[in-house]
């Protein structure tokens, strides 16, 4: 089940001069970047640098977006994109007073309504439960789950419609190392087997190594758009974290000099 967009070189997301204003603050400043189809792109940077706003813009839930932002060949937020893009917010957005399966059943019915699809819905729910390894908790009330389990339910909801683009806002925050590894294995499997494009944000730099490509952000700008290897060799650093710090320092010096 490969997506057409997954051809090598195609872009799932293309942004030119992307700017977002919230109140009187410019959160994203004229960003240019692309997200390659069928690949895992990591969005990294400190808290408050605009990662979530960028993701909300891509999903089409952010207001006051200017510039060009194309997602899967259409302007971001286009109604036709709603079934094709999966989005997981930082805070798990599921109904705490429903069981895991009831949550998934409902969102599956929103994606593919009607009696005729009942069988297909049951299959996608079963698969989503397996994907996030929660089959054994399917009948537990969401409010009785741990934080990590809850965020996996939220992820499972996003996997329901086999979206072509998955936008995940800090999906591994607060998870133990084993779960984090399992989730990253899942992300790679989604990209390799289902041709899914993933845009994953994190402020943990060691997760950067697991991405095909990185967007390093700071204060509403993109510092670098490169593969982890290229970033390290370009900056002469051993880790992505060092590369990031190096880039921040050069950007600061450049700013000083231009004053």
């Amino acid at each position: 089940m490969m997506n057409k967009a997954a051809d090598a070189g195609a872009n799932a997301v293309e942004a030119r001069a992307l700017t977002v204003v919230r109140g009187d603050r410019t959160v994203l400043r004229a960003l240019n970047f692309t997200v390659g189809a069928g690949r895992i792109t990591g969005l990294l940077g400190p808290s408050g640098c605009g990662k979530s706003t960028l993701m909300r813009a891509v999903v089409g839930t952010q207001a006051k977006v200017t510039g060009t932002l194309d997602v899967l060949g259409r302007p971001a937020g286009h109604p036709a994109l709603r079934p094709r893009v999966g989005y997981v917010t930082q805070a798990p957005s599921v109904y705490s007073d429903l069981t895991v399966r009831q949550n998934l059943d409902y969102f599956a019915a929103v994606l593919r309504p009607g009696r005729a699809h009942r069988g297909a819905r049951r299959d996608t729910v079963t698969r989503a439960l397996q994907d996030v390894d929660l089959t054994s908790h399917a009948d537990a009330l969401a409010k009785h789950l741990s934080g990590g389990q809850l965020s996996r339910v939220s992820l499972a909801v996003a996997l329901l419609g086999t979206p072509e683009l998955l936008v995940l806002d800090e999906p591994t925050v607060g998870l133990d190392p084993v779960l984090r590894r399992d989730l990253w294995d899942l992300f790679h499997a989604l990209a390799a087997d289902r041709g899914t494009t993933l845009l994953v944000s994190s402020h943990v730099m060691d997760e950067a190594e697991r991405c095909h490509r990185l967007l390093l952000m700071r204060e509403g700008t993109v510092l670098a758009d490169d593969s982890p290897d290229a970033l390290r060799s370009r900056t002469g650093s051993e880790t992505v974290e060092q590369a990031f710090l190096h880039l921040v320092d050069t950007a600061a010096t450049r700013q000083e000099n231009s004053r």
Partner: protein, 252 residues
């Protein structure tokens, strides 16, 4: 474009209503309160007016219309506020769900609860507590259902202006109490100050209470009764549309 999200789709609306009811089922205490409190209040009222059954008739009938409005207002405003704050609303609106699906889903689910609530309260009043209804008790039920929908609509609408549960609850006195005072429950509307009477003419609860009293005192279905239920239903629809306008797919 065929790929766009329709404003409403019956299957998605029904799925939403079923989900809201399923949430309620996991909260038996709320269900019990919704069903039993109105019945208890009407029983209490019956014995408060033990010596003046006529007063019980008028106030009781009015309250049968007011209960569903107030309870559905509270329940809906909290439920939709939770939907906004938990992020599920943002998630749903990023999915192919029409705004109409969400609103109609809530209206259907809480409408169903209101039918049960009103059946219980009306049945108890008419057959046990001796509420003297000249018209058909089914019409009482109809008005009660429309009142419940109006409450759902108002709750949905005001939840857009509440940032927390604290604020949402405070909208109850702000939106409901003035209507309660002016609806003719405490004193006939034509005996109020002229300004207040004019204000009460444009408040939907006045018509809800008047509709109840029409059923209480007339055997036949009067023109006034039709006017009353049309005004209540029309207000409910209008406020539902206003509520839909507060659901934004893109937010700051």
């Amino acid at each position: 474009m065929s790929t766009g999200t329709p404003v409403a789709d019956p299957a998605r609306t029904l799925a939403t209503a079923a989900r809201v009811l399923r949430q309620l089922r996991h909260d038996p205490r709320t269900v019990a309160l919704l069903l039993i409190v109105p019945a208890l209040m009407i029983t209490l009222l019956r014995y408060v007016f033990d010596g003046s059954p006529d007063t019980f008739d008028t106030i009781g009938a009015s309250l049968l219309g007011i209960f569903p409005l107030i309870t559905m207002f509270l329940v809906t405003s909290i439920a939709t506020l939770r939907e906004r704050t938990s992020g599920t609303l943002e998630r749903l609106l990023a999915m192919p769900l029409g705004k109409g699906d969400l609103i109609a889903g809530y209206a259907l689910a809480f409408g169903a609860v209101a039918v049960l609530q009103s059946l219980l309260a009306t049945g108890l009043s008419v057959w046990v507590l001796g509420l003297d209804v000249v018209g058909s008790p089914w019409l009482l039920l109809l008005v009660a259902l429309l009142d419940a929908l109006l409450g759902t609509a108002l709750g949905l609408f005001v939840s857009a202006f509440a940032a927390s549960e604290f604020q949402a609850v405070q909208f109850m006195p702000a939106v409901i109490f003035p209507q309660l005072l002016l609806c003719g429950l405490f004193t006939p509307r034509d005996r109020m100050h002229l300004v207040l009477e004019a204000v009460s003419d444009v408040l939907p609860m006045s018509y809800a209470v008047d509709g109840m009293n029409q059923v209480l005192t007339r055997t036949e279905v009067t023109a006034d009764f039709y006017r009353d239920i049309l005004v209540v239903a029309g207000s409910a629809l209008l406020v539902l549309f206003l509520g839909a306008a507060t659901l934004r797919r893109r937010t700051v």
